[in-house]
Amino acid sequence: MKQYWKSIEDLVPAEEIEQEKKSSMVLSEGKESSGNSRRDFLKYFGFGIASAAVLAGCERPVKKAIPLLIQPEEIKPGTANYYASAFYDGTEMVPILVKVRDGRPIKIEGNDLCELTGGSTSARIQASLLNLYDESRPAQPMHNDTAITWEQVDADMLKLMAEWDVSKEFVILTPTVLSPSTQKLIADFKAKYSFVVHETFDAISYSAIREAFEKSYGEALIPSYRFDKAKLVIGFNADFLGTWLQPVAFSRQYAMARKLTGGQREMMRHLQFETTMSLTGSNADERVPIAAADEAHYVSALYAALASKAGVSVPVVTIPDVVNKIAEELWSNKGASLVVSGTNDVDIQSLICGINELLQNTGTTVVVDTPVHLFKGDDKAYSALLSRMEKGKVGAAMFWNTNPLYHAPMGGQTEKALASVPVKIAVNSQQTETAQLCDYSLPTPHFLESWDDAVLIDGVYSLTQPAIRPIFKTRQAQENLMAWAGFDGKYYDYIKLYWKENVYNMSLSQGKQFETFWKTSLRDGLVVDENIQKSKVAFSGSDFGSIASAYSAPKSGNELELLMYQNVPIGDGTLANNPWLQELPDPVSRICWDNYVAVSPALAALRGWTQGDLLSINDVELPVVVQPGQARNSLAIALGYGRTNAGRVATDLGKDVYPFVAMNNGHRQYYLEEVKAVATGGTYELAATQSHHSMEGRALVRETTIAEYLKNPASGNEMHEKFNEINTSLYSEHEYNGHHWGMVIDLNSCIGCNACVVACSAENNVPVVGRNEVRRSHEMHWLRLDRYYAGDTDNPEVVRQPVMCQHCDSAPCENVCPVAATNHSSEGINQMAYNRCIGTRYCNNNCPYKVRRFNWYDYTGADTIPNNTVDPAGMTLDLKRMVLNPDVTVRAKGVIEKCSMCVQRIQDKKLTAKRDGRELEDGEIKTACQQTCPADAITFGDTNDPNSKVSKLMADARQYGLLEELHTLPSVVYLSKVRNKDKNKTLS
């Protein structure tokens, strides 16, 4: 069996001991140092009796019940309604459903009518709900720090427009606008005021892809990628499962192409060249660490190798062995392969276009005639705008959901440019750094309070509708424009009119009246026009040969380079002020609440750095994380941290590395070719969830290769049969008369994106504990994604395993509870009665999976004793508590909690079936983690029903239980992982 290790510390036991010492020191230095004596105990005991007597004498508080004055038919107290809407934060656009209970949005789910996402979402989309209840949101219009009314705003602006000097520009800076109604509105606004200029600025730039396509295809576009149609995918620094372009859609396509369930015998092969270990790279079948500086060389070499096969002119490039092997494989998968790069460099992107064209992938995996409308920002236009500002040609600038000062400081140029704009208007739903420099702050509502529409791909229309009335005195940016241009009505009317005139055509309406069409569109959230005129884009080519020959040899030397990347939880930092996202550990490093410098093990050994040592990198001080699989001389730091004005949670978390982003060939480049890294001598304790779930090297994740699997489906899982034979129990088996709930997790599908973790937190009121508590291993997530490395530290293989309560039929926790607070239900669920729990933590101690969580403090305002509260992120505020799911108890201090298999969802669907007098259908109940999973890795159902999907999966030869040798008989089982590599085709 392979030797798995969880982190570098596992390999260096002495280090671990040191860690242990550190954490125990923290414990003893903690605020509840045990100075309590017996007398204190007696004092508190006496006080307790006295307060009980006082409590007993008190009358119950009178609770009011205030019904609606006029109750709409569809609103039923205590019953959730789902409204179709769409998430778009300037990056990915995903159709969603918003669960609204008694007027409050409490959960976001994917819209299953969307073919692209299949009803799945990402961690960030799940968490975006909490930004709605962010107390740091700008709450009302302000002018130079004084509150003003919207009427005053309009009067000021009308005056400004009336007295405008037409030689100057009024700039509206937006992220890519997907909304056709907004585009028309801006056009109308420009028609009214000729001096208005609309510019597009994306937080993260993809402008090189557009330019490359313009060069090779004559049109600046980003194509639709189809990972599901590919048999071989090669990625170059493209984290397409985590952050690149459309991660939700790509994750889904990726997982579908790699599934081995339902009789599928073929799976897509994925190879990744990358600098730091990304989520995508950790899922690759094989992975090659390369310096960011050498990426262009590798891409050129691949182009050259393929060109020689295709018989076109071959540039002179030294071709590494590994590239030759890949070219061979790619050539045999012509038309069914895909090569992508995540680097914002025109040369690389042009070569990628050339490679995909040589491989005849255009039309199958690279669909250019249905381009996506994301990331239309052009860095050259942004530079031009900055210089126009500096020259004083811009009279006013409106920053509409854009934050250029943070996302593109350009070495101070942005700040200087902004200073020369006389009137600056911030139009945001969250606090931004740019807004601090603005004269006017005109807050917009959160997207869950707004109307909007979007076109992601031509012919796919979606609608955003409000799920709650605006909480603050906000107004949609579109309504600002309407007011200032003197247009009548609300933005809602504007969208509706746009749809009537443009979307409602004969093929879509199917003879319906417009009102009916509008209502059904609003109900579904999206409309797909199959007969849309596809754009005709033809390959015109480019001089790929000469581009490639410019990178004939590797560039990297002994200097350190720095890569700046987006991590999965925080992304570009727009949604950073979100406790759920900050507490979400990075899927690779398992660190939360901070960014850090990822360093390769070899470099760390050479320089004597260990985890937590502070490094000064071009004067930015950050702690080291030794990242296995990192390219030797590369450092990597996550973007999105170090916000200076983001609100209560995110301000001053981590360090900002956007200032390192510079223009290269007119595009923002997310790496520095040379940096200086010096250890400062200080150390910093990162909040990591990595070494305290160690499972001590037992066969937890079982894996095999595709070749072995095809010979024997049970390969890698041979011990399963053996354990089944030898295991026996003293305890009698439970009897399940009706349902027996079970879950199957396909480790071959799980990509470790962590969307399930946030979905679980949102559904089950899982508390946020903060950085200090995570340092003390007090994190509360009911579901975690264990990550193990195997093999060589310079380029290890990675496996992941989602672990939640396994709902054992012979549960070790149940036997040791002195008060029977945890016991077994008649449907196979390991139940936890919080109100019965007295907090002995025996169950926690006896659980072999370590999935039980103890409430060391009150994190959510569940009890009324103020000294119990630990609330680093404002989760006990009334506003943030509005996000709580009323069907799930909010746990108080001193009780154990854990995964309940979303029992509230089970009960809800069972009740629906009972009320309808019908049998429960398989697949009707979906747990929160299953619902959101883009990879469809989680299946839940009734194992007593032989025809259910979960029963069929349990019969798979890859099925095994975690630590099944203990004979705990878990109801959650895993399907082993299969790697698409065999001895005949391997890179090394």
């Binding site: 009980a52 409590l55 007993a56 004498g57 119950r60 009178v62 609770k63 009011k64 019940a65 205030i66 019904p67 609606l68 004055l69 006029i70 109750q71 039923k76 107290p77 205590g78 019953t79 008369n737 009706g738 349902h739 016991n823 239900s825 008649s826 449907e827 669920i829 139940q831 936890m832 009665a833 919080y834 109100n835 019965r836 069907d887 799930v888 108890t889 909010v890 309940s900 029992v903 509230q904 009960q907 069972k910 009740l911 079936a913 009972k914 009320r915 007098g917 019908r918 049998e919 429960l920 009734d942 007593n944 029903d945």
Partner: protein
């Protein structure tokens, strides 16, 4: 040991002294506050006289009832249809003295005309009464005096036991130790019982019967007029909460019905006012479960086909709604153990194949809710 004892004694004495001091100070200040009133130039109503008039301590004429006999401060166990003291005070405070006088002495219509016929009040008395009502409208009804019987007995027993203890060891006045022991045993067991009951009832409100902002009578609606429960509480069939009807729903009938047989126009006018002027009606919630309990009406009413009365009692005989059962967990579980499930009538239960076979084989004759897991912890605690 002795030292600590004496210290605790002195501190006890100190505490007593302070307590008395504060008590006296408070009394003095309070009296002062009262005296300060009415010392300004314009004639001020004598609130004491007003209050006495309201209570009928000063006669208001032959066979004239005191105001308080109809317009009571608190709702008693039986309903009092007349507007309460506070409601009268609010109405009166909005009137000038002349209007108040005409409303009081020359009322028109219904019961009021008959009852108010015998009043004879001087203008000065009216002035005081009006002043009192105005004051009442602002200050609100005084807190209901707490019943201190239980606490008093509890404390007395404590004292008795302490004396018995002291006598047992030191003074030894009573010759038979059995008496001491009996006193202590009785005291302890009584106190134990009180404490236990208090603790069991902590958070429960069996027979809770609060005043509502509108004197809505379930007896009139569900009993006399035979309106189905589901007409107003239709959500009980569909959702978790049974729902309190919206004012809009009330107006389905009260658009026409403006005159109640018992309450006259006063109570119905409140609903109309709320509906027409967009005012919320703040009902007092009677049935409260702790936050860690999940209860769903539709499970019981729709799927379980229980009658409302099984939990809520004979609502159609209640003028003032009261909580019929204590809603304790034991009460829930007992019912689950004895209530039959509609096992053959609902297709959902087909999933319980073995139990169906048992019924066919005659092993069982019925399936109780508890048999299919109704008493699992997580069915209600999730």
């Amino acid at each position: 040991m002795i030292k600590t004892l004496s210290r605790s004694q002195t501190s006890g004495k100190l505490f007593l002294k302070f307590f008395l001091l504060f008590f006296l100070l408070f009394q003095v200040l309070n009296v002062g506050a009262k005296d300060n009133r009415g010392k300004k130039g314009a004639p001020e109503p004598d609130l004491k006289v007003g209050e006495r008039l309201y209570y009928g301590l000063i006669s208001m004429g032959e066979e004239a009832n005191a105001c308080a006999s109809c317009h009571t401060y608190y709702t008693a166990d039986t309903i009092n249809w007349n507007p309460s003291a506070l409601e009268m005070a609010v109405v009166a405070s909005e009137m000038d003295l002349a209007t108040f006088k005409s409303h009081l002495l020359e009322p028109s219509g219904g019961v009021r005309e008959k009852v108010h016929a015998n009043y004879s009040l001087s203008d000065e008395q009216l002035f005081h009464l009006h002043g009192y009502l105005k004051e009442l409208a602002v200050d609100g009804v005084p807190e209901k005096a707490l019943s201190i019987n239980t606490i008093l007995i509890f404390l007395l027993l404590g004292v008795a036991m302490a004396i018995a203890l002291v006598d047992l060891f030191f003074t030894k006045k009573i010759p038979y130790k059995v008496i001491h022991i009996l006193i202590i045993l009785f005291g302890l067991s009584y106190q134990g019982k009180v404490v236990a009951h208090q603790m069991i009832d902590l958070g429960r409100s069996h027979e809770y019967m609060p005043d509502q902002p509108i004197k809505f009578s379930h007896q009139v609606h569900a009993g006399d007029n035979k309106i189905d429960c589901m007409y107003c509480h239709s959500n009980a069939e569909h959702g978790k909460s049974a729902g309190i009807p919206s004012a809009g729903l009330c107006m389905n009938c009260h658009m026409v019905v403006r005159n109640g047989t018992n309450s006259g126009q006063f109570e119905i006018a409140k609903v109309v006012d709320a509906y027409e002027n967009n005012k919320d009606i703040e009902w007092v919630r009677i049935h409260n479960l702790p936050d860690h309990v999940y209860f769903n009406h539709s499970q019981h009413v729709n799927a379980g086909q229980l009658d409302c009365a099984e939990c809520h009692g004979k609502v159609e005989e209640m003028h003032i709604l009261k909580q019929e059962n204590d809603l304790s967990m034991g009460w829930c579980l007992d019912c689950h153990k004895t209530t039959n499930v509609n096992f053959l009538g609902n297709d959902y239960y087909k999933v319980y194949e073995q139990l169906h076979k048992d019924i066919e084989a005659g092993v069982r004759d019925s399936i109780k809710a508890a048999d299919i897991g109704a008493n699992d912890c997580m069915k209600c605690h999730h």
